[in-house]
Amino acid sequence: MAPLLNVENLRVSFPTHRGRVEVVKGISFALGRERLGIVGESGSGKSMTGRSILKLIRKPGLVTADRMEFDGIDLGAQSERQMRDFRGARISMVMQDPKFSLNPVMTVGEQIAEALVTHERLGRREVQQRILDMLAAVRINDPERVARLYPHEVSGGMGQRIMIAMMLIPGPELLIADEPTSALDVSVQAQVLDIIDDLVRTKGMGLILISHDLNLVSRYCDRILVMNGGRIVEECAAGQLSQAQHPYTRGLLAAMPTINEQRAELPVLDRTQWAGT
């Protein structure tokens, strides 16, 4: 089967007063209908990678790639108008904080409806039914009541589930989730990720999960890319993370305290060794 997404030699750069600085330095990967995790620390270029797939990087940022194909279509050659048909309909993105992603003056139901009718023509009753089904699918108990609420009336976890409902209702083939749970409490995090996981599996979508949390990514993905300083330093199956080879990955793993912590001191990364900049 041809890969869903194929990226070769992707570079993203921004101008500074010291000339152009590359934040993504030529990375390549392919994605099937699977769950891919991209992990890295702040400044590793992981978020820029996610955004450049949807061509969401604004000028003066510059994105170049030898190849960036989604389902055989060259994304690089698409105009801004054509990209709008892609976004939401075939590739969706869930951002970090629902507080900033939801429109404060529209009810939850209206926003989900908008996401749906932008890409599909449907009757009113059908739209309503699809919304309620979708809200039920993200495990909201009382969908009819929640659809009438405004974003400030829902909790963070509920807000993020609504975002997911909004992103998944047009039935995209690829979901990019950029730190979807880092603004949420631990117990809610698991719920939200379980929902994403469940929907991705049942609908047979591709998932790119971008996070700084190695444990979280290894739990919810099949394959992991570790990024540092704009490059992929390690690629491995999620199960094999504990046998990671690259010293950076090993350093990250070791630096995390565990619940049964016996070490008197945590090992610290020697930054000079892989300093990308």
Partner: protein, 243 residues
């Protein structure tokens, strides 16, 4: 004598009561954690002890002395606080040097230059950073400055409000090591607020689990390490972390 003692502490914000009937005693030299989800009132307790949340009833005693409701000058040399956000906790127009000299100037302590240099060394910051502005520092370096600022007055008690949750994993490790070393070297008492149980396991001796403004359970860190927390809610939190 307890470093911090809370008796029947209720704290309100405006009309709503957010913390209900807290009774805790933290021994001198102990490292104690308040854990819970957002909205559980754990940060509010820190702010009340510091004097930043003045609307409370009950008793707060620091090092055996009852505390008034506002910010007190006398308490400044006993209790200091480190905040969560390393980007919001440093004045954007002040150099590291003036940030660290300020507490000395306020309290009329001399020999400032030497003290600032000594503190930079203690928190592991190169002296090159002394005259930099916050925007010239990374998140981890800023948090080191914030810790240094809190220690300038040589307090006995340090209130830590999620000191590493805004940092990357590898930077978090550095800051946690630093906090552990400083506590050992200066005999500090820590009251740490966090939602991260592994951090508690690394840094603390005891913990209190909070939910909706109440303490659910007070446990020894060994209980946490071995997964022997008693209350169902504590177990729930633990499961969410371990899974």
């Amino acid at each position: 004598m307890s470093a911090i003692e809370l008796k029947n502490l209720d704290i309100s914000y405006g009309d709503s009561k957010v913390v209900h009937g807290i009774n805790l005693a933290i021994a001198e030299g102990e490292s104690f954690a308040l854990v819970g989800e957002s909205g559980s009132g754990k940060s509010t307790i820190l702010r009340a002890i510091a004097g930043l949340a003045p609307d409370w009833t009950g008793e707060i005693a620091v090092l055996g002395k009852a505390r008034s409701h506002g910010v007190e000058r006398g308490v400044a040399r006993q209790v200091q606080m480190v905040f969560q956000d390393p980007y919001g906790s440093l004045h954007p127009r002040k150099t590291v040097d003036s940030v660290l000299s300020e507490p000395l100037a306020i309290n009329g302590i001399g020999n400032r230059g030497e003290r600032v240099e000594a503190m930079l060394t203690a928190v592991g910051l190169d002296h090159r950073f002394r005259f930099r502005f916050p925007h010239q520092l990374s998140g981890g370096q800023r948090q080191r400055v914030a810790i240094a600022r809190a220690l300038m007055l040589e307090p006995k008690v340090l209130l830590l409000d999620e000191p590493t949750s805004a940092l990357d994993v590898s930077v978090q490790a550095e800051i946690l090591n630093l906090l552990k070393r400083l506590r050992r070297e200066q005999g500090l008492t820590y009251l740490l607020v966090t939602h991260n149980l592994p951090v508690v396991s690394f840094l603390c001796d005891r913990l209190a689990v909070m939910r909706q403004g109440r303490v659910v359970e007070v446990a020894d860190v060994e209980q946490l390490k071995q997964g022997r927390l008693v209350e169902p809610y504590s177990q729930e939190l633990l499961a969410a972390t371990v899974a």
